[in-house]
């Protein structure tokens, strides 16, 4: 089917599809007129039952913790898939690609900002159940500190700081820790991913029981998965530089 035929067929179908979509959308309740009961109930009992002032964090790691387990394994297997697909290309182990930043100002300021971004990512992950944040956001922010290392210096510095076996271990440990905490909850309380630690006072770090453990497990897993992903893409990118010799 040629391109023109494809586009004509698409425009006919799109008209029908958009008609259906708009008809379905106007059947919903109007914007702002919320009538569900699950959300109202969770808002009412979320803080008093779990002592976590961020109700969204409590939902992600406790009330609907099983969905988060599924999402973590999506992340895990996608990174495995990317590493598998891009693994057949050349590996550059001890090369010197000509990508070192030579400007002193960039290197200094960029290098000084790496610990700041790292601390901010750790803070976002730690206070996930008190204020907006959480394991997922904090994990990506920690991974962006590693990207800053590459941007401010060179590929060799980045590769030295983030060795692949360590990252593999951290990622696997994070995913496994989530399942282990769930199984401990099963053993102690009779339900998978039950909250078994003592709940403290809401609004402080020492609260929300085992949500804190799950929070940190997912932060490590997301951070390690993201850095592994960026490593694969950096290796692809660095091969476009002149002077990169392949490793036979």
């Amino acid at each position: 089917m040629s391109r023109r035929q494809r586009l004509t067929l698409f425009s006919v179908v799109a008209l029908g599809l958009s008609g259906f979509v708009l008809w379905a959308m106007t059947d919903l309740r109007s914007f702002g007129d919320y009538a569900g009961t699950y959300g109202v109930l969770l808002n009412k009992v979320g803080v008093s039952e779990r002592h976590a002032s961020n109700v969204v964090g409590a939902i992600v790691f406790d009330f609907r913790g099983f969905d988060t387990l599924g999402e973590e394994f999506i992340l895990f297997s996608s990174v495995m898939g990317v590493a598998f697909i891009l693994r057949s290309s050349l590996k550059i182990k001890d090369q010197r690609p000509l990508d070192a930043v030579s400007n002193d100002a960039t290197r200094t300021v960029g290098g000084l900002m790496v610990p700041i971004v790292l601390i901010m990512g750790l803070w976002l992950a730690a206070y996930g159940y008190v204020t907006p944040g959480g394991g997922f956001q904090g994990g990506v922010a920690i991974a962006s500190a590693a990207v800053l290392v590459w941007t401010a210096t060179s590929y060799r510095a980045f590769a030295r700081l983030t060795p692949a076996p360590t990252l593999d271990a951290i990622e696997g440990a994070g995913a496994a820790a989530y399942v282990v905490v769930g199984l401990v909850g099963l053993g102690l309380d009779g339900a998978f991913l039950a909250n078994f630690l003592p709940l403290g006072t809401a609004g402080t770090l020492a609260s929300a029981g085992s949500i804190g453990l799950l929070n940190w497990a997912s932060a490590f897993e997301v951070a390690a998965a993201n850095i592994l992903l960026y490593r694969e893409f950096f290796q692809e990118y660095v091969q476009t530089f002149p002077g990169v010799r392949e490793e036979r």
């Binding site: 961020n54 969204v56 964090g57 976002l124 907006p132 944040g133 959480g134 997922f136 956001q137 990506v140 922010a141 991974a143 962006s144 990207v147 993201n226 992903l229 960026y230 893409f233 950096f234 692809e236 990118y237 091969q239 476009t240």
Partner: protein, 80 residues
């Protein structure tokens, strides 16, 4: 109310512009602005967690993987 109207309209216009930019490099830049408008929209809709997620992802991860792929798939298209 006015803020919500402006944010929704900005998201719609920028979304259409993202699809209509055919050069991949230009599309990466427009996608960055689209991500920022999404962050503003999420905060206006009282969802700070989602806004944080979209911010860290759309600023760091998206442009990185896209630019690496563009660099990798462009270099052998030059005539030898």
């Amino acid at each position: 109310m006015i803020l919500q109207l402006i944010s929704f309209t900005a998201v719609m216009v920028l979304g259409v512009l993202v699809v209509l930019s055919f050069d991949p490099l230009r599309q990466v830049m427009v996608n960055g602005v689209f991500g920022l408008s999404l962050v503003v929209l999420f905060v206006v809709l009282q969802a700070p967690d989602v806004g944080l997620s979209e911010l860290v992802v759309g600023t760091v991860a998206f442009p990185l993987v896209l630019l690496a792929t563009i660099a990798r798939t462009k270099e052998t298209q030059r005539p030898k």
